[in-house]
Symmetry: C2
Subunit: 430 residues, 2 copies
């Protein structure tokens, strides 16, 4: 027996358009393999030309959200508009009317998850958002239904394609940030205003969602430390490479004895780490569970069809598991008051200084580290023979694990020595 | 409201023991995060000392399967005995009695899936086997609930840890097969009789299961081409490395225009391929879907707790999605008659010859390739200056894609030239 399921798609941009095409082209396939006949019963689109270009029949193009929601043939509403204005109102309206909602909107889920979930619970509707994080990679399904038997200890992800594309180019070609960003913009990998990607906001929204699920407690975006890649110099990538590290923008979540630690920042990882070979616009999430150990999921984190794959996966999941909803952190009510978040997190550090090429300089700097209790793993001074006293030379130091506050203190003390400048501080994970 | 779920564990070996410990230690965690109180209500074990060692209370140690199945507190039966004798009888008995079954038994599912599924459907029981393939990596969940919106075009997997451990050692240390196998046996990575692993049977069972799910049709083990790693020489690994390839035992499934192609054999892949850096006992499955593109799942394919993670994931899945069963190929009835399997599959080939160091030899060999329509990509003759006519020299050739039959024909013709021997033929994938 084939179950009939009607879908409405709000917005026919990159993801909405891909979803429309995927549902249309696979209709017979889903009947055969899933036992569901999924039809698109309505689309809502600001620019009707988009619907025409996709060959959407005129009779299913709705003129407003009320019409979509009143349509009794619509069981599931797919939201691919983005942002938190119309998208939020439409999703709430759909949930209130008893429609299941599938959304690709990370910002919406990150900011209004509680509010949406409350309404969804009241009307017993499903709320699904696999497509909000890491495109077609089924990371949310994995957290909910694959590694749910584990206490997730940590999660490290490359979850923004734009920055990974830029850092890969900088690493492989030795290019600098500004020119690589321009090329990425020319090729469509970066937006005209790249802030959302390069400053880590996109990764932050996704990390908020993923770590909330991994740690079974709402992780608000305000608790996430964030640093983007716009200050990264090609020099650091090159020096890091010499020392055996690859630079990635990582989203990191750890559930430690002291509390939950969440952060997005450029990070050096050993070049043998599975994440180090995740290149170009590919994404990956590396998880550590107390039973499963290390696992990694890898794939395209964006793009029309990969993201549509996640949207459609949710549509089919909703159609075949209708009683199972995304009520993911069962301790929601107590979460924000009881859960501790760690701001003074632990990390190892890479520091690049530009110091006077004089006797005693290294002794002074290592004195500061010793005083702060920071232990040095690697050190490389890049002077030239015969250059003494003439110029400043680069000095690269990698430390053992310490805390963010101790590192800041050391940096301040080194500055006060007035023997050079600190050009960059980059965190290092194993 | 907390749902109570009782589990029986059959067999307390590596996986059963890990499952027992995981369920016990996480009981409060599952109550809080999954809303289910999972208790172990019975264990069945041949050697009671194993139960004692794990601290299993005497009152839940059953003396026979009838007792386990008659226990009204048992909702889910976990089978971790292995093999197809007692395991099969017990699983059938449990399903007949209306208990859901979770099994880690790849051989059982590969060989008796239809029979088990028929009984499960009759009594409306769930039959779950995430732990049968690739340990803790949620590959079955991903196929069922993550990429189910895609037509899976191909799957390439490193799904046997023993062989990957051996090949990694041979690659990194330049060691030969026999000594590496011995070391693997000493360290517990290989069995005393390693046939099941090194000859590819273990990978074959798993490929049968995974490709059946990926292609929505039963893929019987008899349709799978199989070749193990016991004939692999360290020389081939070294020459392949020089040409940019890494050797892996791959399980490959492709859904082509000509039919389904399934095979397990040593395979050279470009060293940049995501699977090439999956080392030691780690496993990974690389999938290509028509919407999602390339994705990969990586993790530990065996071991007590990683496999227990998959078993427990199925237990929790069964407890929370009780109406969703593994009825995975809806076209079962027609499958075996309608589905075409390709035996003369396409591949590129690496050939290592040992040839006379005489004028005209290369011309003759390349003449055979030309006649067979096989086009050469890479060639390397490893002679020594001054050695002419004295000795045989290694000649390594990598061809473009052709078919298995054409390659066999070329090999036969080269043999008939009587100018040397063909030392190895290894398939190459991109």
């Amino acid at each position: 027996m084939i179950k009939k399921v009607g879908v409405a798609i709000l917005g026919l941009g990159v993801v909405g358009g891909g979803t429309y095409k995927t549902l249309l082209e696979h209709r017979e396939f889903y009947k055969r393999t899933q036992g569901v006949d999924v039809t698109v019963e309505a689309v809502l689109v600001r620019n009707p030309a988009k619907a025409q270009a996709l060959g959407v029949p005129e009779e299913i193009v709705a003129s407003n959200i009320a019409e979509v929601i009143a349509n009794p043939n619509v069981d599931i509403v797919v939201e691919t508009i983005g942002g938190c204005d119309a998208a939020k109102d439409y999703v709430l309206a759909a949930l209130r009317e008893g429609k299941a909602v599938v959304t690709a909107n990370k910002e919406l889920i990150c900011k209004y998850w509680h509010e949406l979930e409350r309404v969804a619970k009241r009307t017993s509707c499903g709320l699904y958002f696999e497509a909000s994080c890491v495109g077609g990679v089924p990371i949310i399904r994995t957290l909910l239904d694959g590694v749910q038997g584990n206490k997730v200890e940590q999660m490290m992800g490359i979850i923004n394609g734009t920055t990974n594309y830029i850092l890969t180019k900088m690493t492989v070609e030795g290019a600098d940030y500004a020119e690589t960003l321009q090329e990425a913009q020319r090729l469509g990998y970066a937006e005209a205003d790249p802030t959302n990607d390069v400053e880590g906001f996109d990764a932050l929204y996704k990390l908020s969602i993923l770590s909330s699920m991994a740690f079974h407690t709402k992780v608000p975006q305000t608790k996430i430390f964030r640093e983007g890649i716009s200050q990264i110099s090609g020099k650091d990538i090159a020096y890091g490479k010499e020392l055996g590290y690859t630079l990635k923008l990582l989203a990191i979540g750890k559930n430690t004895d002291k509390g939950i630690e969440v952060r997005v920042h450029p990070t050096f990882i050993p070049k043998e780490h599975p994440l180090a070979s995740v290149n170009d616009a590919f994404n990956a999430v590396h998880l550590r569970g107390d039973a499963v150990g290390d696992i990694m999921l890898y794939g395209r984190g964006a793009g029309s069809l990969p993201t549509a794959s996640a949207v459609v996966s949710d549509v089919l999941y909703a159609a075949t598991h209708s009683e199972v909803k995304y009520a993911t952190f069962k301790n929601t009510a107590t979460a924000e008051s009881n859960v501790k978040f760690v701001s003074d997190f632990e990390s190892a550090y890479y520091l690049r200084l530009s110091v006077d090429d004089k006797p005693g300089v290294l002794a002074k700097i290592s004195g500061v580290f010793a005083k702060c209790g920071m232990s040095i793993i690697q050190i490389a001074q890049k002077g030239q023979y015969g250059n003494l006293n003439k110029d400043r030379v680069p000095l690269v130091i990698v430390t053992h694990k310490t805390t963010e506050n101790i590192c800041k203190k050391a940096v301040k003390e080194i500055k006060s020595l007035k023997i050079g400048t600190i050009e960059s501080v980059i965190r290092v994970e194993q």
